[in-house]
Protein backbone atom coordinates (compact mmCIF):
# COMPACT_ATOMS: atom_id res chain seq x y z
CA UNK A 1 0.00 0.00 0.00
CA UNK A 2 1.12 3.50 -0.67
CA UNK A 3 0.83 6.75 1.15
CA UNK A 4 0.60 9.97 -0.84
CA UNK A 5 1.51 13.15 0.97
CA UNK A 6 0.79 16.34 -0.90
CA UNK A 7 1.70 19.86 0.18
CA UNK A 8 -0.58 22.30 -1.64
CA UNK A 9 -1.79 25.89 -1.53
CA UNK A 10 -4.69 26.25 0.93
CA UNK A 11 -7.17 27.69 -1.53
CA UNK A 12 -6.73 24.67 -3.79
CA UNK A 13 -7.99 22.21 -1.20
CA UNK A 14 -11.58 22.32 -2.37
CA UNK A 15 -10.63 21.65 -6.00
CA UNK A 16 -8.26 18.83 -5.09
CA UNK A 17 -10.80 17.19 -2.83
CA UNK A 18 -13.47 17.36 -5.51
CA UNK A 19 -11.15 15.90 -8.13
CA UNK A 20 -10.13 13.05 -5.85
CA UNK A 21 -13.66 12.20 -4.88
CA UNK A 22 -14.67 12.21 -8.51
CA UNK A 23 -11.89 9.73 -9.18
CA UNK A 24 -13.25 7.42 -6.51
CA UNK A 25 -10.85 8.22 -3.70
CA UNK A 26 -13.03 8.63 -0.69
CA UNK A 27 -10.78 8.92 2.28
CA UNK A 28 -8.13 11.44 3.17
CA UNK A 29 -6.68 13.32 6.08
CA UNK A 30 -5.64 16.94 5.84
CA UNK A 31 -3.74 19.25 8.13
CA UNK A 32 -2.59 22.83 8.26
CA UNK A 33 1.16 23.17 7.87
CA UNK A 34 3.59 25.95 7.06
CA UNK A 35 5.99 25.69 4.19
CA UNK A 36 9.43 27.08 3.62
CA UNK A 37 10.73 27.13 0.06
CA UNK A 38 11.36 29.32 -2.91
CA UNK A 39 8.07 31.11 -2.58
CA UNK A 40 8.58 34.46 -0.90
CA UNK A 41 6.33 35.18 2.05
CA UNK A 42 4.69 38.56 2.52
CA UNK A 43 6.07 41.01 5.01
CA UNK A 44 4.39 42.07 8.21
CA UNK A 45 4.71 45.33 10.00
CA UNK A 46 4.92 45.90 13.73
CA UNK A 47 5.66 49.32 15.05
CA UNK A 48 7.41 50.19 11.84
CA UNK A 49 9.62 47.12 11.89
CA UNK A 50 9.05 45.02 8.85
CA UNK A 51 9.71 41.31 9.02
CA UNK A 52 9.21 38.72 6.35
CA UNK A 53 6.89 35.87 7.12
CA UNK A 54 9.06 33.04 5.84
CA UNK A 55 6.72 30.21 6.64
CA UNK A 56 3.76 30.25 4.35
CA UNK A 57 0.45 28.52 5.14
CA UNK A 58 0.01 25.29 3.19
CA UNK A 59 -2.28 22.31 3.40
CA UNK A 60 -0.97 18.77 3.69
CA UNK A 61 -3.16 16.00 2.31
CA UNK A 62 -2.46 12.40 3.27
CA UNK A 63 -4.03 9.54 1.39
CA UNK A 64 -3.33 5.87 1.77
CA UNK A 65 -4.23 3.74 -1.22
CA UNK A 66 -4.04 0.04 -1.77
CA UNK A 67 -1.77 -0.21 -4.81
CA UNK A 68 0.65 1.56 -7.10
CA UNK A 69 -1.93 2.19 -9.71
CA UNK A 70 -4.18 4.07 -7.40
CA UNK A 71 -1.15 5.93 -6.17
CA UNK A 72 -0.27 7.08 -9.64
CA UNK A 73 -3.81 8.16 -10.30
CA UNK A 74 -3.95 10.08 -7.07
CA UNK A 75 -0.64 11.82 -7.73
CA UNK A 76 -1.78 12.78 -11.18
CA UNK A 77 -5.11 14.11 -10.05
CA UNK A 78 -3.66 16.13 -7.22
CA UNK A 79 -0.89 17.44 -9.45
CA UNK A 80 -3.42 18.72 -11.93
CA UNK A 81 -5.96 20.10 -9.54
CA UNK A 82 -3.41 21.91 -7.38
CA UNK A 83 -1.46 23.52 -10.16
CA UNK A 84 -1.49 27.28 -10.63
CA UNK A 85 1.88 27.41 -12.33
CA UNK A 86 3.23 29.92 -9.85
CA UNK A 87 6.00 29.30 -7.36
CA UNK A 88 4.81 27.59 -4.21
CA UNK A 89 2.39 25.12 -5.76
CA UNK A 90 3.90 22.44 -3.59
CA UNK A 91 5.08 18.87 -3.77
CA UNK A 92 3.77 15.35 -3.66
CA UNK A 93 5.63 12.55 -1.88
CA UNK A 94 4.90 8.85 -2.13
CA UNK A 95 6.02 6.20 0.33
CA UNK A 96 5.15 2.68 1.41
CA UNK A 97 2.68 1.67 4.07
CA UNK A 98 2.97 -1.80 5.48
CA UNK A 99 -0.31 -2.36 7.14
CA UNK A 100 -3.63 -0.65 7.70
CA UNK A 101 -6.36 -1.20 10.27
CA UNK A 102 -9.84 0.19 10.18
CA UNK A 103 -10.60 0.78 13.84
CA UNK A 104 -14.35 0.45 13.58
CA UNK A 105 -14.41 -3.00 11.95
CA UNK A 106 -10.96 -4.45 12.57
CA UNK A 107 -10.64 -4.93 8.82
CA UNK A 108 -7.04 -4.75 7.71
CA UNK A 109 -4.93 -3.60 4.77
CA UNK A 110 -6.72 -3.24 1.47
CA UNK A 111 -10.09 -3.99 3.04
CA UNK A 112 -9.55 -1.19 5.43
CA UNK A 113 -9.26 1.46 2.77
Amino acid sequence: MKKIEAIIKPFKLEDVKDALVEAGIEGMTVSEVKGYGRQQGHSELYRGAEYVVEFIPKIKIEIVVSNDEFADTAVKIIGEAAKTGKIGDGKIFVSTIESVLRIRTDETDTDAL
Binding site: F11, E14, H42, S43, E44, L45, E50
Partner: protein, 435 residues
Amino acid sequence: MKLKLSVLMALFLPIFAFAEDKLDSGDTAWMMISTALVLLMTPAGLALFYGGMTRSKNVLNTYAMVMGAFVVAFLVWIIAGYSIAFGTNESAMLQNVFGGFGNVMLDGIKWTDLSGTYPMFVFIAFQGTFAAITVAIASGSVIGRMKFSTWMVIVVLWGLLVYAPITHMVWGGEGAYLFDAGALDFAGGTVVHMNGGLAGLVLAILIGRRSGYPKTAMKPYSILFTAVGAALLWFGWYGFNGGSAFGANAIAGLAVMTTTIATSAAAVTWMLLEWFIFKKPTLLGIASGIIAGLVAITPAAGFVGVGGAFAIGIVGSVIAFFGVIKLKKIFGYDDSLDAFGIHFLAGLWGALATAFFALNDQALLWDGPLKESGDRMGQFMVQLESVAIVGTWTLVGTVIVYYIASALTGGARVDEETEHNGLDENIHGETVTNA
Protein backbone atom coordinates in the same frame (compact mmCIF):
# COMPACT_ATOMS: atom_id res chain seq x y z
CA MET B 1 -34.75 71.98 12.95
CA LYS B 2 -34.44 69.58 15.79
CA LEU B 3 -32.62 72.24 17.70
CA LYS B 4 -35.55 74.53 17.55
CA LEU B 5 -37.99 71.88 18.42
CA SER B 6 -36.61 71.22 21.84
CA VAL B 7 -36.91 74.86 22.60
CA LEU B 8 -40.40 74.97 21.19
CA MET B 9 -41.35 72.03 23.30
CA ALA B 10 -40.65 73.95 26.43
CA LEU B 11 -43.68 76.04 25.67
CA PHE B 12 -46.01 73.12 25.43
CA LEU B 13 -44.70 71.03 28.28
CA PRO B 14 -44.48 72.81 31.56
CA ILE B 15 -42.92 69.71 33.12
CA PHE B 16 -39.68 70.50 31.34
CA ALA B 17 -37.55 72.47 33.68
CA PHE B 18 -35.49 74.44 31.24
CA ALA B 19 -35.89 77.93 29.92
CA GLU B 20 -34.45 79.39 26.80
CA ASP B 21 -30.82 80.50 26.72
CA LYS B 22 -29.93 78.95 30.00
CA LEU B 23 -27.71 75.92 30.40
CA ASP B 24 -29.45 73.04 32.13
CA SER B 25 -26.95 70.71 33.77
CA GLY B 26 -29.17 67.64 33.43
CA ASP B 27 -29.70 68.18 29.71
CA THR B 28 -26.01 68.90 29.28
CA ALA B 29 -25.04 65.74 31.13
CA TRP B 30 -27.42 63.73 28.99
CA MET B 31 -26.21 65.19 25.71
CA MET B 32 -22.55 64.69 26.62
CA ILE B 33 -23.04 61.08 27.61
CA SER B 34 -25.18 60.56 24.51
CA THR B 35 -22.30 61.86 22.42
CA ALA B 36 -19.93 59.42 24.08
CA LEU B 37 -22.44 56.60 23.56
CA VAL B 38 -22.83 57.29 19.86
CA LEU B 39 -19.07 57.56 19.49
CA LEU B 40 -18.71 54.10 21.02
CA MET B 41 -21.04 52.68 18.38
CA THR B 42 -18.56 53.11 15.54
CA PRO B 43 -15.00 52.17 16.53
CA ALA B 44 -16.20 49.53 18.99
CA GLY B 45 -19.78 48.45 18.20
CA LEU B 46 -19.97 48.51 14.42
CA ALA B 47 -16.31 47.58 14.00
CA LEU B 48 -16.80 44.42 16.06
CA PHE B 49 -20.17 43.65 14.52
CA TYR B 50 -18.66 43.81 11.05
CA GLY B 51 -15.22 42.45 11.96
CA GLY B 52 -16.65 39.27 13.43
CA MET B 53 -18.64 38.58 10.27
CA THR B 54 -15.74 38.95 7.82
CA ARG B 55 -13.42 36.16 6.79
CA SER B 56 -10.37 35.87 9.02
CA LYS B 57 -8.08 37.28 6.37
CA ASN B 58 -9.99 40.57 6.22
CA VAL B 59 -10.87 41.20 9.86
CA LEU B 60 -8.36 43.92 10.61
CA ASN B 61 -9.07 45.63 7.29
CA THR B 62 -12.76 45.65 8.15
CA TYR B 63 -11.98 47.12 11.53
CA ALA B 64 -9.67 49.72 10.00
CA MET B 65 -12.31 50.70 7.44
CA VAL B 66 -14.80 51.39 10.21
CA MET B 67 -12.43 53.00 12.69
CA GLY B 68 -10.68 54.93 9.94
CA ALA B 69 -14.04 56.11 8.62
CA PHE B 70 -14.90 57.50 12.01
CA VAL B 71 -11.80 59.62 12.49
CA VAL B 72 -11.77 60.95 8.95
CA ALA B 73 -15.51 61.62 8.80
CA PHE B 74 -15.46 63.43 12.11
CA LEU B 75 -12.75 65.81 10.92
CA VAL B 76 -14.64 66.38 7.69
CA TRP B 77 -17.68 67.19 9.79
CA ILE B 78 -15.80 69.79 11.80
CA ILE B 79 -14.07 71.29 8.79
CA ALA B 80 -17.14 71.74 6.59
CA GLY B 81 -19.83 69.11 7.14
CA TYR B 82 -21.45 70.82 10.07
CA SER B 83 -21.58 74.10 8.21
CA ILE B 84 -23.25 72.52 5.20
CA ALA B 85 -25.72 70.62 7.35
CA PHE B 86 -26.64 73.08 10.06
CA GLY B 87 -25.42 76.42 8.79
CA THR B 88 -27.85 78.98 7.45
CA ASN B 89 -27.64 79.96 3.83
CA GLU B 90 -28.49 83.46 2.75
CA SER B 91 -30.00 82.25 -0.47
CA ALA B 92 -33.43 80.85 0.36
CA MET B 93 -33.21 78.55 -2.62
CA LEU B 94 -29.91 77.10 -1.62
CA GLN B 95 -31.07 76.85 1.97
CA ASN B 96 -33.38 74.08 0.83
CA VAL B 97 -30.46 71.70 0.53
CA PHE B 98 -27.31 73.42 1.66
CA GLY B 99 -26.39 75.38 4.77
CA GLY B 100 -23.41 77.13 3.26
CA PHE B 101 -19.86 77.67 4.43
CA GLY B 102 -20.44 80.17 7.18
CA ASN B 103 -19.37 77.81 9.94
CA VAL B 104 -16.39 76.18 8.28
CA MET B 105 -13.97 75.03 11.00
CA LEU B 106 -16.76 75.93 13.43
CA ASP B 107 -16.07 79.54 12.70
CA GLY B 108 -18.32 81.86 14.62
CA ILE B 109 -19.17 79.40 17.35
CA LYS B 110 -17.99 80.13 20.88
CA TRP B 111 -17.64 77.59 23.66
CA THR B 112 -20.23 79.47 25.66
CA ASP B 113 -22.87 79.29 22.91
CA LEU B 114 -25.86 77.18 23.69
CA SER B 115 -28.07 74.96 21.60
CA GLY B 116 -31.27 75.25 23.58
CA THR B 117 -30.24 74.22 27.07
CA TYR B 118 -26.84 72.73 26.50
CA PRO B 119 -23.59 73.80 24.82
CA MET B 120 -23.62 74.21 21.06
CA PHE B 121 -20.27 72.38 20.93
CA VAL B 122 -21.95 69.32 22.38
CA PHE B 123 -24.66 69.48 19.73
CA ILE B 124 -21.97 69.67 17.04
CA ALA B 125 -19.97 66.78 18.45
CA PHE B 126 -23.13 64.73 18.88
CA GLN B 127 -24.13 65.31 15.27
CA GLY B 128 -20.57 64.57 14.17
CA THR B 129 -20.80 61.07 15.56
CA PHE B 130 -23.90 60.59 13.40
CA ALA B 131 -22.08 61.74 10.29
CA ALA B 132 -19.27 59.31 11.05
CA ILE B 133 -21.35 56.23 11.71
CA THR B 134 -23.44 56.74 8.58
CA VAL B 135 -20.56 56.38 6.20
CA ALA B 136 -19.05 53.60 8.32
CA ILE B 137 -22.26 51.61 7.87
CA ALA B 138 -21.77 51.64 4.12
CA SER B 139 -18.37 49.96 4.40
CA GLY B 140 -20.11 46.72 5.31
CA SER B 141 -21.25 46.23 1.74
CA VAL B 142 -17.82 46.45 0.10
CA ILE B 143 -15.63 44.66 2.58
CA GLY B 144 -12.95 42.33 1.25
CA ARG B 145 -12.25 44.03 -2.07
CA MET B 146 -12.00 47.81 -1.85
CA LYS B 147 -8.70 49.62 -1.63
CA PHE B 148 -8.19 51.32 1.67
CA SER B 149 -7.10 54.47 -0.11
CA THR B 150 -10.26 54.57 -2.23
CA TRP B 151 -12.33 54.08 0.88
CA MET B 152 -10.63 56.95 2.69
CA VAL B 153 -11.30 59.27 -0.24
CA ILE B 154 -14.91 58.13 -0.39
CA VAL B 155 -15.32 58.93 3.29
CA VAL B 156 -14.16 62.49 2.73
CA LEU B 157 -16.26 63.21 -0.34
CA TRP B 158 -19.35 61.38 0.78
CA GLY B 159 -19.44 63.28 4.06
CA LEU B 160 -19.55 66.55 2.15
CA LEU B 161 -21.61 65.69 -0.91
CA VAL B 162 -24.08 63.17 0.40
CA TYR B 163 -24.36 63.17 4.17
CA ALA B 164 -24.24 66.87 4.92
CA PRO B 165 -26.85 67.99 2.34
CA ILE B 166 -29.25 65.21 3.28
CA THR B 167 -28.92 66.12 6.93
CA HIS B 168 -29.59 69.71 6.00
CA MET B 169 -32.71 68.81 4.05
CA VAL B 170 -34.20 66.74 6.90
CA TRP B 171 -32.93 68.40 10.07
CA GLY B 172 -31.60 71.73 8.87
CA GLY B 173 -34.37 73.87 10.30
CA GLU B 174 -36.61 76.45 8.67
CA GLY B 175 -36.14 76.76 4.97
CA ALA B 176 -34.70 73.30 4.57
CA TYR B 177 -36.71 71.32 2.10
CA LEU B 178 -37.87 68.19 3.89
CA PHE B 179 -37.91 69.89 7.26
CA ASP B 180 -40.38 72.40 5.90
CA ALA B 181 -42.39 69.63 4.30
CA GLY B 182 -42.87 68.15 7.78
CA ALA B 183 -40.95 64.91 7.48
CA LEU B 184 -40.72 62.99 10.74
CA ASP B 185 -37.34 61.38 11.33
CA PHE B 186 -36.65 61.27 15.01
CA ALA B 187 -33.09 60.02 15.09
CA GLY B 188 -32.06 59.22 11.58
CA GLY B 189 -34.04 56.52 9.80
CA THR B 190 -33.60 58.34 6.52
CA VAL B 191 -30.56 60.47 7.29
CA VAL B 192 -28.47 57.67 8.73
CA HIS B 193 -29.75 54.19 7.99
CA MET B 194 -31.42 54.41 4.59
CA ASN B 195 -28.64 56.68 3.51
CA GLY B 196 -25.75 54.53 4.71
CA GLY B 197 -27.40 51.29 3.67
CA LEU B 198 -28.21 52.45 0.17
CA ALA B 199 -24.74 53.93 -0.27
CA GLY B 200 -23.43 50.49 0.64
CA LEU B 201 -25.51 48.82 -2.04
CA VAL B 202 -24.48 51.31 -4.68
CA LEU B 203 -20.81 50.83 -3.86
CA ALA B 204 -21.23 47.05 -3.79
CA ILE B 205 -22.74 47.04 -7.25
CA LEU B 206 -20.20 49.45 -8.69
CA ILE B 207 -17.17 47.59 -7.33
CA GLY B 208 -18.58 44.16 -8.10
CA ARG B 209 -18.73 40.96 -6.10
CA ARG B 210 -15.97 39.34 -4.14
CA SER B 211 -14.25 36.69 -6.18
CA GLY B 212 -15.89 33.35 -5.52
CA TYR B 213 -19.17 34.92 -4.43
CA PRO B 214 -21.70 33.37 -4.05
CA LYS B 215 -20.25 29.90 -4.69
CA THR B 216 -17.54 29.81 -2.05
CA ALA B 217 -18.57 29.51 1.57
CA MET B 218 -17.31 32.68 3.23
CA LYS B 219 -17.26 31.84 6.87
CA PRO B 220 -17.34 34.54 9.51
CA TYR B 221 -14.20 34.91 11.59
CA SER B 222 -16.10 34.79 14.85
CA ILE B 223 -19.74 35.41 15.59
CA LEU B 224 -18.71 35.97 19.19
CA PHE B 225 -17.27 39.34 18.20
CA THR B 226 -20.35 40.11 16.13
CA ALA B 227 -22.58 39.49 19.15
CA VAL B 228 -20.44 41.71 21.36
CA GLY B 229 -20.59 44.37 18.67
CA ALA B 230 -24.38 44.13 18.56
CA ALA B 231 -24.56 44.51 22.33
CA LEU B 232 -22.32 47.58 22.26
CA LEU B 233 -24.37 49.04 19.42
CA TRP B 234 -27.52 48.53 21.42
CA PHE B 235 -25.95 50.22 24.43
CA GLY B 236 -24.76 53.15 22.34
CA TRP B 237 -28.14 53.45 20.67
CA TYR B 238 -29.61 54.87 23.87
CA GLY B 239 -27.48 57.89 23.12
CA PHE B 240 -28.48 57.79 19.47
CA ASN B 241 -32.22 57.68 20.04
CA GLY B 242 -32.40 59.06 23.57
CA GLY B 243 -30.01 61.89 22.75
CA SER B 244 -32.14 62.84 19.77
CA ALA B 245 -34.63 64.28 22.25
CA PHE B 246 -31.92 66.89 22.89
CA GLY B 247 -32.43 66.86 26.61
CA ALA B 248 -33.06 64.62 29.59
CA ASN B 249 -36.79 64.91 29.23
CA ALA B 250 -39.91 62.80 28.88
CA ILE B 251 -39.42 62.39 25.14
CA ALA B 252 -35.99 60.93 25.77
CA GLY B 253 -37.60 58.60 28.28
CA LEU B 254 -40.13 57.52 25.69
CA ALA B 255 -37.32 56.86 23.21
CA VAL B 256 -35.50 54.72 25.77
CA MET B 257 -38.62 52.63 26.24
CA THR B 258 -39.60 52.22 22.59
CA THR B 259 -36.01 51.45 21.61
CA THR B 260 -35.77 48.62 24.11
CA ILE B 261 -39.13 47.15 23.17
CA ALA B 262 -38.63 47.27 19.41
CA THR B 263 -35.14 45.81 19.67
CA SER B 264 -36.17 42.93 21.90
CA ALA B 265 -39.18 42.18 19.73
CA ALA B 266 -37.09 42.24 16.56
CA ALA B 267 -34.48 39.91 18.05
CA VAL B 268 -37.10 37.40 19.12
CA THR B 269 -38.73 37.65 15.70
CA TRP B 270 -35.52 36.93 13.79
CA MET B 271 -34.73 34.04 16.13
CA LEU B 272 -38.15 32.50 15.59
CA LEU B 273 -37.99 32.99 11.81
CA GLU B 274 -34.71 31.10 11.67
CA TRP B 275 -35.99 28.46 13.99
CA PHE B 276 -39.07 27.77 11.93
CA ILE B 277 -37.46 28.09 8.51
CA PHE B 278 -34.00 26.65 9.04
CA LYS B 279 -34.57 24.63 12.22
CA LYS B 280 -31.65 26.38 13.85
CA PRO B 281 -31.76 29.70 15.70
CA THR B 282 -28.31 31.25 15.31
CA LEU B 283 -26.51 33.73 17.49
CA LEU B 284 -25.85 35.73 14.34
CA GLY B 285 -29.61 35.78 13.84
CA ILE B 286 -30.30 37.14 17.30
CA ALA B 287 -27.62 39.79 16.80
CA SER B 288 -29.00 40.70 13.38
CA GLY B 289 -32.50 40.99 14.80
CA ILE B 290 -31.20 43.37 17.43
CA ILE B 291 -29.71 45.64 14.78
CA ALA B 292 -32.82 45.42 12.61
CA GLY B 293 -34.98 46.46 15.55
CA LEU B 294 -32.71 49.32 16.50
CA VAL B 295 -32.68 50.61 12.95
CA ALA B 296 -36.43 50.28 12.46
CA ILE B 297 -37.32 52.20 15.62
CA THR B 298 -34.80 54.97 15.00
CA PRO B 299 -37.02 57.31 12.97
CA ALA B 300 -39.97 56.59 15.25
CA ALA B 301 -38.41 56.34 18.71
CA GLY B 302 -39.75 59.59 20.14
CA PHE B 303 -43.08 59.51 18.34
CA VAL B 304 -44.70 56.13 19.00
CA GLY B 305 -46.06 54.23 21.98
CA VAL B 306 -45.67 50.72 23.36
CA GLY B 307 -47.83 49.03 20.72
CA GLY B 308 -46.19 50.94 17.89
CA ALA B 309 -42.76 49.92 19.14
CA PHE B 310 -43.75 46.25 19.11
CA ALA B 311 -45.15 46.51 15.60
CA ILE B 312 -42.23 48.44 14.18
CA GLY B 313 -39.71 46.06 15.71
CA ILE B 314 -41.43 42.87 14.62
CA VAL B 315 -42.17 43.92 11.05
CA GLY B 316 -38.78 45.60 10.70
CA SER B 317 -37.14 42.32 11.60
CA VAL B 318 -39.22 40.38 9.11
CA ILE B 319 -38.34 42.81 6.34
CA ALA B 320 -34.62 42.85 7.11
CA PHE B 321 -34.65 39.05 7.37
CA PHE B 322 -36.20 38.91 3.95
CA GLY B 323 -33.60 41.36 2.62
CA VAL B 324 -30.70 39.37 3.97
CA ILE B 325 -31.91 35.87 3.18
CA LYS B 326 -33.89 36.31 -0.02
CA LEU B 327 -33.48 39.63 -1.78
CA LYS B 328 -29.71 39.36 -1.92
CA LYS B 329 -29.96 35.99 -3.58
CA ILE B 330 -32.63 37.04 -6.02
CA PHE B 331 -30.67 40.00 -7.34
CA GLY B 332 -27.24 38.51 -6.85
CA TYR B 333 -25.45 41.63 -5.57
CA ASP B 334 -22.77 41.05 -2.97
CA ASP B 335 -23.88 43.14 0.00
CA SER B 336 -21.16 41.46 2.02
CA LEU B 337 -22.21 42.24 5.58
CA ASP B 338 -25.77 43.25 4.76
CA ALA B 339 -25.58 46.99 5.26
CA PHE B 340 -28.32 47.38 2.68
CA GLY B 341 -30.36 44.38 3.79
CA ILE B 342 -30.55 45.54 7.36
CA HIS B 343 -29.94 49.29 7.49
CA PHE B 344 -31.68 50.39 4.34
CA LEU B 345 -34.69 48.12 4.52
CA ALA B 346 -35.38 48.44 8.23
CA GLY B 347 -34.70 52.17 8.02
CA LEU B 348 -37.11 52.52 5.13
CA TRP B 349 -39.77 50.59 6.96
CA GLY B 350 -39.33 52.65 10.10
CA ALA B 351 -39.51 55.90 8.18
CA LEU B 352 -42.78 54.95 6.51
CA ALA B 353 -44.27 53.25 9.55
CA THR B 354 -43.75 56.39 11.59
CA ALA B 355 -46.64 57.94 9.71
CA PHE B 356 -48.97 55.24 10.91
CA PHE B 357 -47.78 54.60 14.42
CA ALA B 358 -46.86 58.09 15.62
CA LEU B 359 -49.00 59.09 18.57
CA ASN B 360 -51.28 61.93 17.67
CA ASP B 361 -49.91 64.02 20.49
CA GLN B 362 -49.12 67.69 20.01
CA ALA B 363 -46.42 67.60 22.63
CA LEU B 364 -44.52 64.91 20.76
CA LEU B 365 -44.96 65.62 17.11
CA TRP B 366 -42.93 67.90 14.92
CA ASP B 367 -44.70 70.21 12.53
CA GLY B 368 -46.29 68.36 9.64
CA PRO B 369 -49.61 67.05 8.35
CA LEU B 370 -50.14 64.74 11.30
CA LYS B 371 -49.59 67.43 13.88
CA GLU B 372 -51.41 70.11 12.06
CA SER B 373 -54.53 68.24 11.10
CA GLY B 374 -54.22 64.67 12.26
CA ASP B 375 -53.76 63.75 8.62
CA ARG B 376 -52.00 60.40 8.67
CA MET B 377 -52.30 59.81 4.96
CA GLY B 378 -50.82 63.22 4.31
CA GLN B 379 -48.04 62.46 6.73
CA PHE B 380 -47.41 59.20 4.93
CA MET B 381 -47.08 61.05 1.65
CA VAL B 382 -44.52 63.36 3.25
CA GLN B 383 -42.64 60.36 4.58
CA LEU B 384 -42.73 58.81 1.13
CA GLU B 385 -41.46 62.00 -0.38
CA SER B 386 -38.61 62.23 2.08
CA VAL B 387 -37.69 58.60 1.47
CA ALA B 388 -37.72 59.18 -2.28
CA ILE B 389 -35.67 62.34 -2.16
CA VAL B 390 -33.12 61.01 0.30
CA GLY B 391 -32.89 57.79 -1.72
CA THR B 392 -32.33 59.61 -4.98
CA TRP B 393 -29.75 61.97 -3.54
CA THR B 394 -27.87 59.05 -1.98
CA LEU B 395 -27.97 57.08 -5.19
CA VAL B 396 -26.73 59.83 -7.46
CA GLY B 397 -24.29 61.25 -4.95
CA THR B 398 -22.73 57.91 -4.13
CA VAL B 399 -22.20 57.07 -7.77
CA ILE B 400 -20.42 60.38 -8.34
CA VAL B 401 -18.33 59.98 -5.21
CA TYR B 402 -17.37 56.46 -6.20
CA TYR B 403 -16.10 57.43 -9.61
CA ILE B 404 -14.11 60.39 -8.35
CA ALA B 405 -12.54 58.32 -5.58
CA SER B 406 -11.80 55.49 -7.94
CA ALA B 407 -10.16 57.84 -10.40
CA LEU B 408 -8.08 59.51 -7.71
CA THR B 409 -6.73 56.24 -6.38
CA GLY B 410 -6.13 54.40 -9.62
CA GLY B 411 -9.12 52.10 -9.45
CA ALA B 412 -11.25 51.17 -6.46
CA ARG B 413 -10.57 47.49 -6.35
CA VAL B 414 -7.58 45.67 -4.90
CA ASP B 415 -5.66 43.33 -7.19
CA GLU B 416 -6.50 39.66 -7.33
CA GLU B 417 -3.61 38.54 -5.21
CA THR B 418 -4.51 40.93 -2.43
CA GLU B 419 -8.11 39.81 -2.49
CA HIS B 420 -6.98 36.23 -2.41
CA ASN B 421 -4.39 36.53 0.36
CA GLY B 422 -6.57 38.86 2.34
CA LEU B 423 -6.49 42.60 2.76
CA ASP B 424 -5.05 42.35 6.26
CA GLU B 425 -1.83 40.95 4.96
CA ASN B 426 -1.37 42.91 1.79
CA ILE B 427 -2.75 46.31 2.72
CA HIS B 428 -2.02 46.57 6.41
CA GLY B 429 0.77 44.04 6.87
CA GLU B 430 -1.01 42.55 9.87
CA THR B 431 -2.70 39.28 10.82
CA VAL B 432 -5.72 38.98 13.03
CA THR B 433 -4.08 36.61 15.47
CA ASN B 434 -0.58 35.33 16.16
CA ALA B 435 -0.46 32.20 18.26
